[in-house]
Amino acid sequence: MKKILNHPDDFVDESISGILLAHSNFLTPVEGEPRAIIRKDAPVQGKVAIATGGGYGHLPVFLGYVGEGMADGVSVGNVFTSPSADAMFEVTKAIDGGAGVLYLYGNYFGDKMNFDYAAELAADEGIRVETVRVSDDVASAPFESKDKRRGVAGLFFVYKIAGACAEAGASLDEVKRVAEQALESVRTMGVGLAPCIIPASGKPTFEIGADEVELGIGIHGEPGIQKQQLATANEIIAQLLEHLVSDLNVKSGDEVCVLVNGTGSTPLEELYIAYKEVHEWLAKKGIQIYRPFVGEYATSLEMAGLSLSLLKMNDSLKPFMDAPARTPFIRL
C-alpha cells in the first residue's frame, strides 16, 4: 500500500483535520463531535437544513457538499463505513434553523439504520426530520425494486436540486418533494477498471484481470452486472447509456443533465473522451444536454473508472440546477 499518510488508523481524522484547517472560513466541527461538520453559518434561521453523511473516501461526497446551496452538515464515518447515529444527531441539532431537517444520503443499509435512529433521537428533541435516500445505481437492482438500489454519483444532482430548493426558502415538505422528484429523475451506472485500497485493510477492494472491466460497479467496489473485456470508450459509453436511457425512459426531444464522474485515478483527459462519446450518442438520439458536468464528483479513493449519470430535466428543476452553489469543493 503506497499512500501519503501517517498511520492508517489516523487516515480519516487527519484528512478531515486538513480540510478543516484549509477551509475554516466555510466549515466547522460540532463541539465535542469531530466527525460532525457543519457550515460555518449554521444554523441558518428559518431555512430547511439538509444533513448528509456516509463513509469516508468518496470526496467530494459527502463532506465536500456542505456549503451554500448544497448541504448544511455532514457526519463522517470511517472509510466506506457509516458514521454513527450519534454524530448524525449532533449534526441535526447544530443545523436545525427551526424549519426542520432533511436527511439526504445514499441508500446503504448501515447508513439507513443509523440515520433512522438519529431521526428517533431528533424526534425526541422536537426536531422534525424527513428522509430521502438516493438510490440511483441502475446496476444494483432491477427497475421493479429500485428503492433497493445503491446511492452513487447521482447524489450530486440531488444535493444540487434539493440544496437550491432549501436555499430558496421552501418548506421541509417542499424540499423533500423536490428532492424526491430529482431522485425519480436520476440514474447512474459505472464501470471499474482498477480497485482502490482501504488504508485500514491494505488490500485491493476487488480483483480484476489486466484486460477486464467491471460493468455496473458500486462505489465501494461492489460487483456489478458483469466482468467484461475492456472495450473502446465508444462501446463502454454506449453500453452505459443504453441502460440509463431505457431505465429512465428518456426519449428524443427530452433534455438531460449529464455527469461524467471519475472514480479517483481516471485522468480528466479520459473523462472528456467519455464525454465526447456521451454527447455524440445523445445527439444521435435527439436527446438534448441541458448542462454537462465532467470531473470528480463521487470517488472511491484511487479506484480507476468512471460513472455516468443522467438527470432528466423539466422546467421546474431548471432554476434549482442554475442556482449558485458554493462549497470548498464545488463552485457553480
Binding site: S84, Y108, F109, M113, N114, Y117, P223
Partner: protein, 199 residues
Amino acid sequence: MLEIISALQEMSQTLKEEFNRLDGTQGDGDLGVTVELVTKAIHEAASEASDVQSWMKQSGVLVRKQAPSTMGVLLSFALSAAAKSLVDKDVTSLNTWIDVQLAMIEEIKKRGGANLGDRTVLDAFIPASEAFRAAVGAGSTVQAALQRATKSALNGAEATKNLVPKTGRASWVGERAIGEMDGGAWLCYKVYDTIYRIF
C-alpha cells in the same frame, strides 16, 4: 464476564482476516474490522460497568458510536435490547438468558427487517437460541446448552452457503454469493463457540 470479553477480543483478532474474506465475497470485506471494533467497544464498556446489565447497556452505546456498520449497529441495538430485558432479572438463571437471546433476535429482526433464510446473522442466531432453549427446557447444564447452541449455530451458518442474500450489501451480489458462508452467521457461531469454551 471479563474472561468472555477477553476471549471474544482474542477471537476477533485471530479471525479478522477470515471475517473480512467472507464479507468480501459478497459485501465490502470489512466485517473483520467491525468485529474488532465491536469487541474493543464491549471491552471498554466493561471497564465502566459494575454488573452484566450495565455492561450490556454501555456496550450498546459504545458499539453504536464506534462500530456503526450494519453488523455493528444491529449488535448495538441487540445489546441495548438485551440490557433492557435484563433489568431486575436473576442473571444466574438460564431462563433469563433464554429471554436475552430472544430479545436480541427480536430487535435485530425489527431493526433490520430480515428473517430466517435471508442469509444473515439470524440464520445462525435463531436456531442457536432455539437449541439453547430446548436444552434448558430438557434440564441441561449451561455447558450442555451452550454446546447444543454452538452446534446449531454452526449448522445454521453452514447452511447459509446455499442461500441467496435478500438484504444488505450482499443482496446486490445475488446468486453470486452462493458457495460461501454468510460472514455474520459465522460470527454468530464463533461467539457461541467462544462462550461455550469458557464454561
